[in-house]
């Protein structure tokens, strides 16, 4: 993989770092034989922003809002993992009502993210009408998020020891209106993605990740569940109110009776998870106990406790893309963490790209790469930018190839 051995039969094809049919910078170096991908290497670091380094010079309350900005889509999951790490290190109990409110916010984020991904996946194979349909649905969920938190993307809703805003009975009509809208449209979405000939042609048997590879390469999230590995932090661990709610692992065999680990299976998992999230929100609203929103409303008191803490903690959360884990260590001298380590889900889903892409065609690169729902800004956190001048197959070119393949298959 490291040695660049171009022979007469194969040639090198660098894609990236800017827009390799993704929405974020990452660099692929392919070795191609005709149309087939023989080998692939991934390089990262183009959007490294030194967020962990910056965080170690901020106090823990400030870091919540910094963590929110690690990723524009997982703007609940990262703060969630961080505050859980702090709560574990400092031993802060969270009020029961707050745990339910956290579940509602996390699941709203998952719905947004999965619908957004569905649209991107449709776009990658040249099915742009579906892109507009899905993003129209996502807009409704974003409206609800804005109604509940005051913001569409960076919600600033979580805090150490609880949440910052309540959901009351007054909010219920709008919540149920949106959830009913999603339920009404779910079958339409499912029909388009799972029964449509075009989707089946492009996604079945494409970008396969076997069970063993998913396990050994430590893949996370829908990527690993589509390969049959039952790993979902919400089910496996007791965190927030997930321990109280009825929830199970979503794997493709629930629908089709078998696990292939291809792009089609990843679509199934995400679609079923949208439905699961809607149900979880309904259950959470139904079962939510009354009580406080935060265990300690005075931020300065929390910071004073942290300053006296000498300890470490890890916090895990299930982001839309998979398990996110934060590690913090306090040394008892400062309210700044001594160490803060962030691990986003895409970090673990980099290596699985290699077995997925090998043997596929150039025109399949966009949909296979997109099928893990990569989030590069999450993954690259710590440093600076370097651009290599290479021959580039730009986004438009790659997108054109992909659209052409769809047209070819439909003939």
């Amino acid at each position: 993989m490291k040695e660049k051995t171009t022979s007469k039969t194969t040639y090198q094809l660098p894609i990236g770092p800017i827009h390799p049919a993704l929405k974020e910078p990452v660099m692929f170096e392919f070795e191609i034989d005709g149309e087939r991908i023989v080998d692939v290497d991934v390089s990262l670091g183009h959007v490294h922003r030194a967020i962990e380094w910056t965080g170690m010079r901020r106090n823990s309350i400030q870091i919540i809002y910094l963590a929110e900005r690690i990723c524009g889509i997982c703007s609940i999951s990262h703060p969630m993992a961080f505050i859980r790490a702090v709560e574990n290190a400092v031993d802060i109990e969270v009020p029961e009502r707050a745990e339910y409110l956290r579940v509602i916010q996390c699941e709203l984020e998952r719905i947004c993210s999965h619908i957004l991904w569905a649209g991107v996946a449709a776009h990658e194979i040249g099915f742009d009408t579906v892109l507009f349909l899905t993003w129209q649905m996502r807009e409704k969920v974003l409206d609800l998020t804005e109604y509940l938190t005051g913001n569409r993307i960076t919600k600033a809703i979580l805090t150490i020891g609880g949440v910052r805003r309540d959901i009351t009975k007054d909010h219920h009509p709008k919540i149920f209106e949106t959830l009913n809208y999603l339920k009404d449209n779910f079958d339409k979405l499912r029909h388009i993605f799972l029964d449509d000939k075009t989707f089946q042609l492009r996604s079945q048997g494409c970008g396969i990740l076997r069970y063993e590879d998913a396990l050994k390469l430590c893949a996370v999230g829908p990527t690993t569940r589509a390969s049959g590995v039952k790993k979902d932090v919400r089910v496996d661990q007791s965190y927030a109110a997930y321990g109280d709610l009825d929830i199970k692992h979503i794997t493709p065999d629930l629908l089709t009776g078998q696990v292939n680990g291809d792009v089609y299976d990843r679509i199934i998992v995400r679609l079923l998870e949208i439905k699961q999230s809607v149900e979880l929100i309904e259950k959470a609203i139904d079962q939510m106990p009354s009580g406080d929103l935060v265990s300690e409303p005075k931020i300065l008191k929390i910071l004073a406790t942290i300053k006296k803490t000498n300890g470490e903690g890890v916090g895990r959360a299930e982001a839309p893309r998979g398990e996110v884990i934060h590690y913090v260590k306090f040394n008892g001298e400062s309210e700044h963490p001594y160490t803060w380590k962030v691990r986003a889900p895409t970090y673990n889903n980099i290596l699985p790209w290699i077995p997925m892409l090998k043997g596929e065609q150039i025109a399949d690169i966009p949909i296979v790469a997109a099928s893990t729902d990569p989030c590069i800004s999450c993954t690259n956190r710590v440093a600076v930018i370097d651009g290599n001048n290479n021959y580039e197959l730009n986004k438009e070119e790659l997108h054109r190839l992909s659209v052409e393949k769809t047209r070819r298959l439909m003939k």
């Binding site: 670091g45 496996d236 007791s238 903690g313 930018i385």
Partner: protein
């Protein structure tokens, strides 16, 4: 990937202590509850001696193929601490146990063996630890940098808190032509 009977936190602690005796320097079991039903979640923090580290990982893989979430690291002054965050028994409802295995490396010789031969998915995080903490992973299959660009100064490691850290560099960026 053998599926044995699931051990609880004390069982796991005993499993390692029986085998490695005093080389397991510290085991701490932390339990937290969440939600209305107060279901438990267990974190095990285990410090092991560097000499048996690789055997510990092998022994762990015999238990069940673990999920390696990430390796994090601390610069503790005289030593560098690496913490391997594993998940065991995932896939069962509320059955997961988080196992954090830490190992101290002396700064005079900060080397550790790779675990990529047991867990291939460790490659990305091992590469990151090399460039960020200035440690050496022996036998790593891919020795390149991961996030840092190729022209990043040699001998500067962003997570170090000593003279090899970034403090000096960011004050004098002109010296490294940044």
């Amino acid at each position: 990937m053998t599926e044995n009977k699931q051990l609880d936190a004390n069982g796991i602690s005993k499993y390692f202590k029986d085998k490695f005796k005093t080389n397991i320097k510290k085991v701490e079991i932390k339990k937290r509850t969440a939600g209305s039903k107060k279901n438990e979640f267990v974190n095990i923090w285990m410090k092991v001696d560097k000499s048996v580290f690789k055997d510990v990982i092998k022994h762990l893989c015999d238990l069940q193929f673990p999920h390696l979430a990430v390796v994090s690291g601390n610069d503790l002054g005289k030593t560098i601490e690496l913490i391997y965050h594993f998940s065991l028994y995932y896939g069962t409802r509320l059955g997961e146990i988080s196992l954090n295995i830490s190992v101290d490396l002396p700064k005079s010789n900060p080397t550790i063996e790779t675990i990529c031969d047991y867990i291939p998915g460790a490659l990305i995080t091992e590469r990151e630890k090399q460039e960020m903490l200035g440690i050496k992973i022996e036998g790593i299959p891919d020795n390149r940098r991961l996030f840092l660009p190729d022209d990043f100064p040699k001998g500067v490691y962003p997570w170090r808190k000593d003279e090899k850290g970034m403090e000096k560099m960011i004050r004098n960026l002109h010296e490294v032509k940044k």
